[in-house]
Symmetry: C2
Subunit: 380 residues, 2 copies
């Protein structure tokens, strides 16, 4: 792959050499995004522990750590294994581990020298982790997940003291922190004040930590999440760590929030026009296998039109998709021809990356390099 | 993997040995579904050329061919390469090829001994195929795609005669047939009469073929698609081939159509209950990375509740998902506990298979075997 990427070019001619559809990541934009979030963490004196779910690439995790991140966050033990294999040594599995086999894998990673922190939100789960740790003679760090409004996993605040005490009394583990993913902006509030949401998230967690400490529990880490709120949550005294993920690539959803601009989006799908059935319609060679469908057009809180932003033609709309076809409504005088290659910034980059076995990473000179998305599809 | 699958068991205990979430395919159900569609084709004297997009597995394609299918259908040249690598020798790429590199890859497959048929819907695309074929000294079979209402790719019927004549005049290729994917049932008609839709699809295509033949064009193959309409389209005189895909596994969407029952669904996700935050809510370890989101709950024409059918608890609803979490509303007296493994039949099996790097295939005795989904994520 010796093709050069010219990000200013909205339409590429046929024969650019790229096999489409594919996902291209612009390295210089990545570095700028990494630097900006590192600066947020540094300014506020908190740790940055980025969620690797966005890139799923050990080399990107390494860049984040080189820029000051304390370690990384993942959701699944299989992702932790891939990251450890790729040289990452400080990993938080921010997910309640309950299955025996997964706990065993966590123990093995810990034995292999990785600083592994795992999540828990039930006594049952924590007991299983404790039993395995005692059996294997290791000491695992545990953080208790707190439910702060997403109605997902996490212990209710009312029950946190009791559960924390029970967990802290178990052998083989150390309860060192609490964490939450509030996701306030994804719950359907269209006019969400991100600053207020970030502050609220931070204040809730700092308060829970204060209560737990007053009960004698040694809570060191108070960890909060999300790209839209991280900068505000980090300002709250008592918050010690932020876990944003999307910021490394940004996406159309974040641009809709005003968290980034479209120019800050590092990832774009390259697709070929395969048909122009009518003046106002072009069909591209990527559909729902290429662009994620978890953020649906027209739905709260984004009300995005279509499944992506068409670079160079913001009024064009990727209106419909089947698995391998994308139908884009265009101006009747638009110059697209069969064979043209166009660039599209997806609504949600994390789930879009998960559809791609590899990405092309473009360096500052536009030179492309193919990289396998090593932690793609790691479900376990 | 020596675990046995008991399909009647709604809730598995922890420690079943399966790493969840994962997708399990029941082999005996697959064989029954394959046999039923083969019988449809045989009864109507048409060829069956199943779309491999559902299973993405050469071994399943081989089973379909062993049961009488003439060959297989794919959408992308990369899928054709994987299937050829897996021993499949008769492949239709039902997709307009326009990029030079993809056409070269098609030529190479043809040179390697695969009977390769490719799609075209523009003179530009056909010319490029012709040029490459002449240059390499091969003869490629081409089918012309006809637009019959999906507003996707395909030449409009009014323009079909002119384009077919132009394509037939090109060297290096033989225009041997026409094909369409009408997808009438996916265009939002909630009370669709599948019999009428299938007959209409067949009649339109048979008529186009008649007109083309009257203009001196040697149209042999008249190929129509889709699991819901295949049995009806096959009844129409002049239709020579059906290309259903989903039927091999079936899914909740087809069950909603009445095309299959839930018991005919061969694929189910196994997931572990990781949290029960309240009596009416359980959280499982699979979300939008595990279950496809292209068929959204509550939308036309299916109006399905939630993202899957919970086996053994049809009133439970997989209401919300984030990437790694599935939130299921359950009866407050339901017996789910943290660690239980449950089975869920996804709304759309094809796009769900695309999320899984491997599946477990359960034989009639329930014995599980891990199989890599070789053509997963083949976008090019």
């Amino acid at each position: 792959m010796n093709e050069k990427l010219n990000p200013d070019l909205a339409i590429w001619g046929a024969g650019s050499g790229l096999e489409t559809p594919c996902l291209v990541i612009e390295s210089s934009v990545v570095d700028a995004n990494i630097a900006a979030m590192s600066e947020v963490a540094k300014r506020n004196g908190v740790q940055l522990r980025p969620h690797a779910k966005t890139h799923k690439l050990p080399e990107m995790a390494a860049r984040q750590i080189a820029a000051g991140a304390a370690g990384i966050t993942v959701a699944k033990i299989s992702e932790a294994e891939v990251m450890a294999e790729g040289g990452i040594t400080d990993i938080f599995v921010a997910y309640p581990l309950v299955a025996a086999s997964k706990i065993e894998r966590a123990v093995r990673l810990s034995q292999a020298g990785v600083r592994l922190i795992v999540g828990a939100d039930s006594l049952e789960g924590a007991k299983r982790i404790s039993d395995a740790a005692v059996r294997e003679g290791v000491k695992l760090e545990i953080r208790l997940e707190i439910e702060t409004g997403l109605r997902r996993t996490g212990v209710r605040i009312d029950d946190a003291v009791q559960l924390a005490k029970q967990i802290a009394a178990l052998d083989g583990i150390r309860l060192t922190g609490i964490y939450t993913y509030r996701g306030a902006m994804y719950n359907g509030t269209p006019t969400l004040d991100l600053r207020a949401a970030g502050h609220e998230e931070g204040l809730i967690m700092a308060s829970v930590a204060t209560v737990l400490r007053s009960e004698g529990l040694a809570i060191q880490d108070v960890s909060v999440g999300s790209t839209p709120t991280a900068a505000y949550a980090a300002e709250v005294g008592g918050v010690t760590e932020i876990r944003p993920g999307t910021y490394i690539y940004q996406d159309r959803m974040q641009a809709a929030f005003g968290v980034s601009t479209i120019d800050d989006c590092a990832g774009a799908v390259m697709a070929t026009v395969i048909s122009r059935p009518s003046d106002d319609l072009i069909v591209i060679d990527g559909g729902s296998k290429t662009f994620a469908t978890d953020v649906q057009p027209g739905t709260s809180p984004f009300y995005l039109q279509g499944f992506g932003h068409i670079v160079g033609a913001p009024d064009a709309v990727l209106e419909r998709m089947t698995e391998e076809h994308g139908m884009i409504r265009v101006r009747t005088d638009a110059v697209y021809r069969v064979g043209d290659v166009i660039r599209i910034i997806p609504n949600h980059i994390c789930s879009t990356v998960n559809l791609h076995s590899f990405v092309y990473i473009a360096d500052a000179a536009g030179q492309l390099r193919k990289a396998a998305v090593a932690a793609r599809g790691m479900l376990e």
